[in-house]
Each structure stands twice: as structure tokens, then as C-alpha cells.
Amino acid sequence: MPTRVLVPSGVLGLGFDRKALARGVAMRPDIICIDGGSTDSGPFSLGAGVSKYSRAATKSEWRTLMQARAQAGVPLVIGTAGTCGTDSTVDWMYEITVELARELGQSLKIARLYSSQPVARVADALADGRIDPLTPAPEIELDRLGNIVALAGAEHIQAALATGADIVIAGRTTDTATIAALPLSRGDAAGGAWHGAKIAECGALCSTNPTSGVIMVDFDQTGFTVEPMAETAACTPHSVSAHMLYENSDPFRLYEPGGYLDVTAARYSALDDRRVRVEGSSWVPGPYTVKLEGARIAGYQTTILAILRNQHYVANAQAWIDRLTAFLLAEIETRMGLTTADYQLEFRLIGASGALGSLENRTGDPVELGVLGIITARSQAEAGEIGKLINPFVLHYPLTDDEELPTFAFPYSPATTDRGALYEFALNHVMHLDDPMTAFRIELTEIGAEVPA
């Protein structure tokens, strides 16, 4: 059965064109799907179990989507709620939804799909040989693992939709699962369902006007058709096929729970000047595995920033850093009894190699240089203490013994900033499941004036 999926934007919190959304709603979609996150901003969100987007931005956009859902009378699904899709961010999104339902006077059935994984489940799977590493995979250190999520697939979204929910708030899912779920369950072509979902998962990024956000995909038995909802946007065979390159290490193959999408034989053709038809992509079934993401604490950080404007120091910045570092390591050992086995101290030269580090192959003649000192220690107290210890030297240390003490520019008081925990990604693995639902759970809640809480 043909299935029409409306995708308001690539992620909740980034904004979308409201007129384009209204146009999409008027075209009577069967479902509205939006993504709520990714790992792209780094490990902090997963490590801390919090959203990277502001509550205010999330709530204002979600309000518009909840109104669109009520108008369309179809389910609204968010995947990877709250950036990382831990149970805590699913509940955060649920609270926002309940608040909005009250404000909007909506009665709703809400399904929450939870993707967080207890360490014990991963430990059991590891012991049973049901965990495979991807390349490159960090060593699994069970006792250091913090938050872990498994990426849900289409089966989990289908199970949540089967409850009759008006709104599905899903924890970590693959980018494509929310969009592919309904077309797959209605018997549309599997290759087309996954491929169309991949094309639409970043919203209008597959069109000529990426910031307009809203995209419609029509799925059927032979493929899919994609159309941007903003009148200023167009999809072309090039804009659509080029989207397979985006944030994808392999532009022809996309692994999902239970198989992979192969687009090698896909054909992209223009139906008119704004719609593109895609056929020929295939779905290759395989073992049922879910990808795992995990974070762990790698220390606690304090930073310090100084700016060198004096040309003598700008010209000799690396030599100054080398001399300063050697001096500080000795001072820290003498005064605190710590060696570099206990902490790390790194200075980065912003304006010389700040972004690329040792890969940088250009030199220039900068007006000034930022010196970013980063301390990573075993506790915040220790990192902060090292920061205070080095602070006067970062301010005044001379390049040679026989010159006057310099004083550099500090933009802040205090000069040091405690950054809290440093999280790092700790898993790049898949877990085999006999039954897709074993590692996930769904909770259904009905809210509304006539239904007691």
C-alpha cells in the first residue's frame, strides 16, 4: 500500500519552514517522522544522558508538530529523542509532550520506546559471543562503561505504532528506522523504504534548499518519490543521489538491524523540476544485530586560555610552550606529587595548528596566537588545582631566563574554567538478538482530561 511520510526537518531543534509544513499536512501524510539526535556533536550527550538542544527550542518546535499531528490525524514519531536517546532523554521528551498536551488541550496515547542497555546485558551478550566489534572498535571495559544505548530498527518502531499510539517517543534508533517502519509494515518495497528513509532523514538536505527542512516521501511497491515542501526548494537526481554521500563512510551500502541497503543499482530520475523518483535499490537480509553506542568518563578537565600578541612571543610560541610545559611538569610533581601518569597537560596553539594539530602542514605569520591549556585529571578537584597552580606561569613565564617577565592577555577572571567530566565513546560494536524486542521496551500512557493519570 502506498505510504506517504512527512519529514519536517533533519532534527528537532534546528527549525523548519512552517508554511512548508502546512503544505505537507494538507497533502494528507500517513505519518509524520522526525529525528531527535545523533552522535555528531560528540560523546557528552550520551555520557551525561542529556539533550544538546535547548528545552525552549525543542518545546516550541514540538508544539508545532503536535498541532500538525492533531490536524493530520496521523501518528507523530520522534527517533533518538533528546540527542542521545537514553531512557533519561526519552523521559525528558515525554515531560515536554505532557506539558504541551495540557497547554494544547490534547488527549493522547503516547508510546515510549526505551533503548538504554544495562551493562549486565552487554556483559552477558559478550560472554555468549553475541557481540561483534566493528572497525575500529575500542576495547570493551565493562566496569568503566556508563550510558549504553542500542540503535532500534524498524521492528521496534512498528511495535510502538502497533499500540495505536498518537505519538511515539523513541530512544536511540537508526537515523532511518522511524521513516522506514510504516512503509515496510504496509508491504512497500524494502529497498525503497530504507533508501527513501536515508534520503529523507536529514530533511531538505537532499534538496537545493537545505534550510527549508520539510520533505515528503511517497513509498510504494517499486520505489519512492521525494519532494520538498518549500516552494523555493527542488529535489534533483543529483541533490538526491548526492545525499547518500553525507556522513556515510560507504555511499552504496547502509547497515541496519537485520540486513543492509544496497543502492548500487538505484536509478534516480526527475519526474518534473522538483520531484525525484528512485527505483532499483535493494535490501539484503542478514543476521539481526543492533549497533551499540556507549560512553565512559575519561577524566575531568580544566582549561586556561591566554593570548600572545607580543611578536617576540608569537614568533617563538612553540618554543615557549615547550619550555613552559617542561617547567610546569616539574612544578606539578614537586608541589602536588603528581606525574603524567596521573594527569595530562596539553597546550594547543590556536592560530597555528588549533584544528589539525600534527596534521597541519601550513605555517603562517599570525597577528596573535591563542594558547589553550587543557588539563585532564582523575577528579575535577585535581584538575582545578593543577589549573590554579599553572595559572601564574601561563601568565608570566619568560621565553629565556635573561628577559623580563612578560604578561599575556587573559580573557577571563578566573583564568581557568572547570569543564566537568570528559566523556569518550567506548563502544563500536553490534549485538546479536534472537528477538528484536528483547533489548527494548515500550511503555504506553494515555493522557487527557477524561483519563485519570
Partner: protein, 106 residues
């Protein structure tokens, strides 16, 4: 276009070079060549060994896709440092492109 431009960098020659994370452990670099003759030239002159050397990764870990239909050459490589680790300097991996963009293509 002019002789001078043709002797310049890869970035001068092509439409766009972009890089981005492909998950926390990989970075992917897309070279949009736009014109077929530019695509052919880049494909024939830019070696995988050069790219591996620029990003200091073993060449056998580099994935290369020469995509004729799109006139795109794509490289994917394990990130030189894992995204967000203490040594990472570029959370989104989008500045890695500069190294290829500035590569002198002779």
C-alpha cells in the same frame, strides 16, 4: 580555467571539498568535481597514497569511491583521533577537508 588556476590547489579546481564525521570512528571526505574533465583529472592524479599520507592513516584502511554519475571522489578513513576523545580538536571533522582542499595538484 586560467593556466594559473590549473596549477593551483585541488580546491581551486573542483566545486567543493567537504569532510564530516561518519559516526564517531570515521571521517568521510567528498570531492565534488562538477565537470567530467575535472573528475577525470582528479581521479587520475590524486592517489590514495597521497590522501593516506595527508591524514596519516595506513593506506589499506582508506576506502575510496570514484563515483562517475556524481563526478565525486569520496574517501573514508578511520578518524586520526576518535571523536570527542581528549586528543580530538575537531568534533565534527569538518575542517579535515582543508588539507585536501589546499593540496597542490600538479
Amino acid at each position: 580555467m586560467t593556466q594559473n588556476r590549473d596549477q593551483g590547489t585541488l580546491g581551486d579546481l573542483v566545486l567543493k571539498v567537504r569532510s564530516k564525521n561518519a559516526g564517531p570512528f570515521w571521517v568521510t571526505i567528498d570531492i565534488f568535481c562538477d565537470r567530467p574533465e575535472v573528475f577525470a583529472r582528479v581521479r587520475n592524479t590524486l592517489s590514495s597514497a597521497t590522501v593516506a599520507q595527508l591524514y596519516q592513516v595506513p593506506e589499506q584502511l582508506l576506502k575510496r569511491f570514484d563515483i562517475d554519475d556524481l563526478r565525486v571522489i569520496k574517501f573514508s578513513l578511520p578518524r586520526p583521533v576518535i571523536q570527542g576523545s581528549a586528543a580530538d580538536r575537531d568534533m565534527h571533522g569538518a575542517q579535515y577537508a582543508a588539507l585536501l582542499e589546499e593540496y597542490p595538484l600538479t
